[in-house]
Symmetry: C2
Subunit: 469 residues, 2 copies
């Protein structure tokens, strides 16, 4: 069978989404009936004159949403409509959740996004802001250094060295309005045409940025130690984006051996680099924090990225990256014309917050609060261990539950939903669904919930999932 799909190559939606939307509509309206075998991704790609990864992504999305199924060695088949459940909201929900104003009442939401802001030191922040806006600091209203205020970079350097084992000079640090902006800058430093390896599953927000910038993205599998180096080598990637301190979403902490292997991989070619996203390294509840990959790097191969969105507040639009010397030269020679995206006023508020001890105090407090929530959740999930393997704990702001009995992810999410509890399927974090060979897993974030909500949520989950197990 040949599918004639009208595609608009530019503007509008990405190609894979156009294919996905078209086929979904055809299935919904019955034009593609149950049991119909679809053309292979290769044949469809040839017919539509698109790349095979485009058709693969469209099919992956259709599989993920239950419109079609992949039968090994036979191909893709349309599923019956009665088997369909709307899961779209779940996927789009990721965006909705992000905007604080759109907080729908879903009962208890174990969202892996967002942080606890009930303990934000509002008074301190106000005080520090007032101090910044005193009469004799009019220079605050001028444009500052393109890389960010030197004093703030010194403070970040000091913090990164003592807390994360990062070795750098302040001149290697670039401050920007969030890590997404910094990735846009990095795109211009690395140049176009790069291929980026990403852990699979991965942090979807970074994936979307890379995709939107037109990078070719190569998903690389993980074993229990993180990104597999053999897979990375075979991928042919120039740059690998990794989260060694606490992989998102899997929660894997990469051991030193694997880190060394990654550095060796990067050292083998001049234009290979590692992007280390250390997004939530602040929160670790057990054992000694593992120093950043950057600290092991002797050859200038690691681009280290961090943010204050998680540790202070999402509204503080300040992230930073530490560039190795070769990339710093490129930045300074070619991109020094970009003004900083963070106002000097905001940078100075943050500077005071860091250097006057408020940040450390705030971190210690939040670590204790999150540890309390983490411990409560794990304690209340006791009893589920027979049916679930619980992992990703001891660090970060979420845990993962993997069904030992092979209960489908969608069932787990839906049963929870019926009990007024929202949990998140791991499948949403995969780059390509056909790489999803892990047993069915759901994610429970606890940062935004109170301990009471966590207790109640865990109770309802046990009830919902036990009902039929």
């Amino acid at each position: 069978m040949e599918l004639m799909i009208p595609l608009k190559p530019y503007g509008q939606k990405p190609m894979y989404e156009q294919i996905y939307q078209y086929m979904k509509e055809e299935i919904r309206t019955g034009s593609l009936g149950q049991g119909v075998r679809l053309p292979s991704t290769r044949v469809l790609a040839e017919n539509l004159k698109v790349s095979r990864s485009t058709t693969q992504m469209a099919y992956d999305q259709l599989v993920a949403e239950g419109y079609i199924e992949a039968v090994p060695h036979r191909g893709y088949f349309v599923l019956g409509l009665e088997e369909l459940v709307e899961t779209e909201t779940e996927i789009q929900g990721e965006f909705i959740q992000e905007s604080g104003e759109d907080e729908k009442e879903v009962g208890i939401d174990f969202s892996p996004r967002g942080i606890d802001l009930t303990h934000f030191p509002y008074n301190t922040w106000r005080k520090v802001t007032r101090n910044t806006l005193v009469e004799d600091k009019k220079e605050m209203f001028l444009t500052g250094s393109p890389q960010g205020e030197p004093a703030l970079r010194e403070a970040i350097k000091g913090y990164l060295h003592s807390a994360r084992g990062v070795n750098c000079q302040a001149e290697q640090i670039i401050i920007g309005a969030g890590s997404e902006y910094l990735l846009m800058l990095l795109y211009q430093i690395l140049g176009p045409g790069q291929t980026i390896a990403m852990e699979n599953p991965t942090y979807k927000q970074a994936y979307r940025v890379f995709e939107s910038l037109g990078y070719q993205i190569l998903p690389v599998e993980m074993d229990r130690y993180g990104m597999e180096v053999k897979g990375l080598e075979e991928s042919g990637a120039d740059v690998a984006y990794v989260m060694p301190s606490h992989q998102h979403p899997m929660g894997i902490v990469m051991p030193v051996n694997r880190r060394q292997e990654l550095l060796q991989w990067a050292g083998q070619r001049k234009d290979r680099y590692l992007i280390e996203d250390d997004y939530d390294s602040e929160f670790r509840y057990r054992g000694k924090p593992i120093p950043a990959l950057q600290g092991l790097d002797k050859a200038g191969k690691v681009i280290y990225m961090g943010t204050f969105s998680q540790s202070i507040a999402p509204a503080i639009r300040v992230g930073y990256m530490v560039l190795p010397q070769p990339l710093l030269s490129v930045y300074q020679q070619r991109l020094g014309f970009y003004a900083s995206t963070v106002s000097r006023i905001d940078q100075n508020i943050l500077y005071q917050f860091l250097t006057e001890g408020y940040y450390e105090r705030h971190l210690n407090r939040m670590r204790a609060i999150y540890k309390g929530k983490h411990d409560t959740l794990l304690a209340r999930l006791r009893g589920l261990e027979e049916d679930f393997q619980i992992h990703g704990e001891y660090a970060g702001l979420h845990v993962l539950l993997t069904s030992k009995k092979g209960l489908p992810e969608r069932w787990l999410v839906e049963e929870a939903g019926k009990a007024g509890v929202r949990v998140y399927g791991l499948s949403g974090y995969y780059i390509h669904q056909h790489h999803n060979n892990r047993p069915s897993t759901v994610i429970l974030g606890y940062a935004k919930l109170s301990e009471e909500q966590i207790e109640e949520g865990a109770r309802r989950l046990k009830e919902a999932w036990h009902r039929t197990t």
Copy 2:
């Protein structure tokens, strides 16, 4: 002669700069002696396997700095070393000036960059900031809408409508941390592979952003009404970047007929767009302000861009763009995942500043102050009219002086420099130097100078330039 130039295709400096640097060094060390004829840009491009525009840019830069000269119908020749004057600092000075902390004592600096901050309403800003950080506004610390706070967008919409004749809905506005960031976003909306037409000379900062993002840039000549539509058509560009309200640096105000022609050009193809950069439309000292090009657009062809950097302060890292409907759909479908780069707190401060009447008051005050400086400068330049044509006045924050007697730009800049006055050559604003067929012109910005400095500066200029005329 064949030049063997070792080029590094990726990382490091852009290719044209590598060629330029190499040749400059060869000339400086005498390896390329006076009178040597260089290979044509075409031949050099073929030898080095680069595009011809790359070699052209390298030669342009060498011509601009006086290392070589272009002899019509004969080619490029190396100039004698004794004729060389270091003008590099002048070009790099553009960056240095931008950072407020690096203000070298150059006597009186008629910099076209920067604004008057001595009259910034610091007390009002502090008050508004305090109001934003009151106890009951904790939601300020959450992530807000990706496009920016709805209330702020409403306020900007209202301002744009009444002050600039812009017709839009608040949902078409995207707020971002400066116009450079917004251009990065626009790059992802328009998609790669676009060609951009720019007025020549143009706003170099926008040029650098487009270049850094990998766009092909097509310089289009201007007549006295602005960008020539015939040239635009012939360029084959998809998108034209224009400054109709007050072209930077030429100061041309585009008449309505030309605007209509541009809109017609854009209307002829589905994927054609106009970027209207309305960077300093707030400051106009004579006649009625001309409404924005966007207001004439019935077909959804204009991307309107504005900023508060000029009208409030460079430190307020807030710009905005108004997307026409087709591009808004692309943004919302593909790029809605990007969080806003401006903190909610800063957006709310700005919102209060706009809606409580402070902005209007501030603008009126600054308009009067800038008009005073403008009038003083023009009055004090009287007596130079015999030798110079003065243009670009009545709007913006700079004027242009074109030599009627053909005095070289470099001589004008140098003689001024000897008298402790810094003026800026127009040639620095050209995309390609070989397009620079205008008579020698210098730019005098007056925003940052006091009226006394302006008087003294004008006096010194007259003395310096009259000395030998």
